[in-house]
């Protein structure tokens, strides 16, 4: 899993992309609460690359149900 400091900074910017109050975007946040569409996905690919220096696949990201899945995907990529 990415370090918590990095994760917090990432989640703040993810909230900005998703246009959601940053206080709501925690590991428990579900993408069913928002429009997790292709635009949100491509913006998140760029944000993940910027914060964690890894490129995640669009389909894998699109399949994420929420922040916890997204962070697990990043951790999996970082571990490879």
């Amino acid at each position: 899993m990415p370090t918590s400091e990095k994760t917090i900074a990432f989640l703040v910017e993810l909230a900005d992309i998703l246009e959601v109050d940053p206080a709501r975007v925690t590991v428990d946040f579900s993408f069913s609460e928002i429009d997790w569409d292709s635009l949100a996905v491509v913006s998140s690919i760029a944000l993940i690359d910027e914060h964690f220096d890894v490129i995640v696949g669009g389909q894998a990201l699109s399949d994420c149900g929420g922040v916890s899945d997204l962070l697990a995907l990043v951790a999996d990529k970082l571990g490879k």
């Binding site: 292709s38 635009l39 996905v41 491509v42 913006s43 690919i45 760029a46 690359d49 910027e50 490129i55 995640v56 696949g57 669009g58 389909q59 990201l61 699109s62």
Partner: protein, 335 residues
């Protein structure tokens, strides 16, 4: 003139050409310009806002029915030849880079050959490349010169609006139309370097099936771009041996461009962006940057440019070359 091919310089194939220069460049836009409000019949205001926030497109020029890629490129070429004082008969050939030819056959370059009144000894052919087309075209024109050609007209243009589904928000708001002409001649001792590449496993991520519209898998294209292009930019710097005065990247999408710029650590003054004014014009984005954002500088100065194209194919190419001072760098509208 010498040509070398070196697989060892970087991880990618690199090529170099000597003794050629760009004498002038002209880009030609359709007169019709549409802002984002034009699309309210197809999408909600919120959808338009969301899409354009990412793409960065505010205006795009699009051809009316009946106007073709050949019309845009022919006018650009006529203007360029006239301004340079080049007689059409002095050209050894014309190469058209496009994915929207006037028809399946014959090659649109043959029709343009006739309209420009080129010599019967001149070659004319099309090359089917889009977003990566312009640096590929420079490489191809330069390579043709290594076999003896002295003056070549490189045309790059597309009318992507003709293959767009107006209800597809991923593409309908993104693309514009434009044509261009670049005059290339054998002269001087400048050195041009190139990196070329292809990943055909991405062929169906951006495609037009027979009788259909353009379809784009945005997240796959995005993933490809972020994986390949920052490396490509860094590799062209490495190949040149130092940084460039300007980095001209295919204007694919504002979000992508800004991300690549930050990732490569390039100052925004060296990294012009004009997708807001013209949209993604496929093969014509780099000539549009040369004739709009860099025009005043290239008319009076010599600049070492990195020209980087990437996209449909997946195909990519980067060129490092000095440009300027050049006699012509005009942006015109179709009469």
């Amino acid at each position: 003139m010498s040509v070398s091919h070196d697989y060892q310089t970087t991880a990618k194939s690199s090529y170099s050409l000597n003794g050629i220069r760009i004498a002038g460049v002209v880009a030609c836009l359709p007169q019709q310009r549409f802002d984002n409000e034009f699309f309210v019949d197809y999408f909600s205001s919120e959808e338009i806002l969301n899409v354009t926030k990412s793409s960065g497109v505010v205006y795009r020029h699009q051809v009316p029915q009946g106007i073709t890629t050949a019309d845009l490129c022919t006018q650009a070429a006529s203007h360029l030849l006239d301004r340079l004082g080049w007689h059409p008969a002095s050209l050894d050939g014309v190469v058209l880079m496009t994915q929207t030819p006037n028809q399946l056959l014959p090659a649109t370059a043959c029709r343009i050959h006739n309209r420009l009144g080129l010599s019967k000894h001149a070659f004319a052919f099309d090359v089917n490349l889009g977003c990566s087309a312009y640096p590929y075209g420079l490489w191809l024109a330069g390579s043709l010169m290594s076999s003896g050609a002295r003056r070549i007209l490189l045309l790059a243009g597309d009318t992507i609006s003709c293959i767009l589904n107006p209800h597809d928000r991923a593409t309908a708001l993104l693309f514009g139309d434009a044509g261009s002409a670049t005059a290339i001649e054998q002269q001087g001792d400048d050195s041009w370097s190139f990196l070329l590449g292809t990943d055909g496993s991405g062929a169906d991520a951006l495609q037009v099936l027979p009788g259909g519209f353009l379809s784009m898998d945005g997240s796959r294209v995005f993933e490809f771009t972020l994986t390949e292009v920052p490396q490509l930019v860094q590799s062209i710097d490495l190949l040149h041996g130092k940084g460039h005065d300007h980095y001209l990247l295919h204007q694919a999408n504002h979000l992508i461009l800004q991300h690549i710029r930050r990732k490569c650590g390039i100052n925004s003054e060296k990294f012009p962006i004009n997708i807001d004014r013209f949209g993604n014009t496929s093969s014509a984005t780099l000539p549009l940057l040369l004739t709009s954002n860099l025009r005043d500088e290239l008319i009076v100065n010599r600049r070492q440019l990195a020209l980087v194209g990437y996209g449909v194919g997946f195909s990519w190419a980067a060129a490092s070359l000095p440009v300027g001072p050049i006699a012509v760098a005009d942006l015109i509208e179709l009469n």
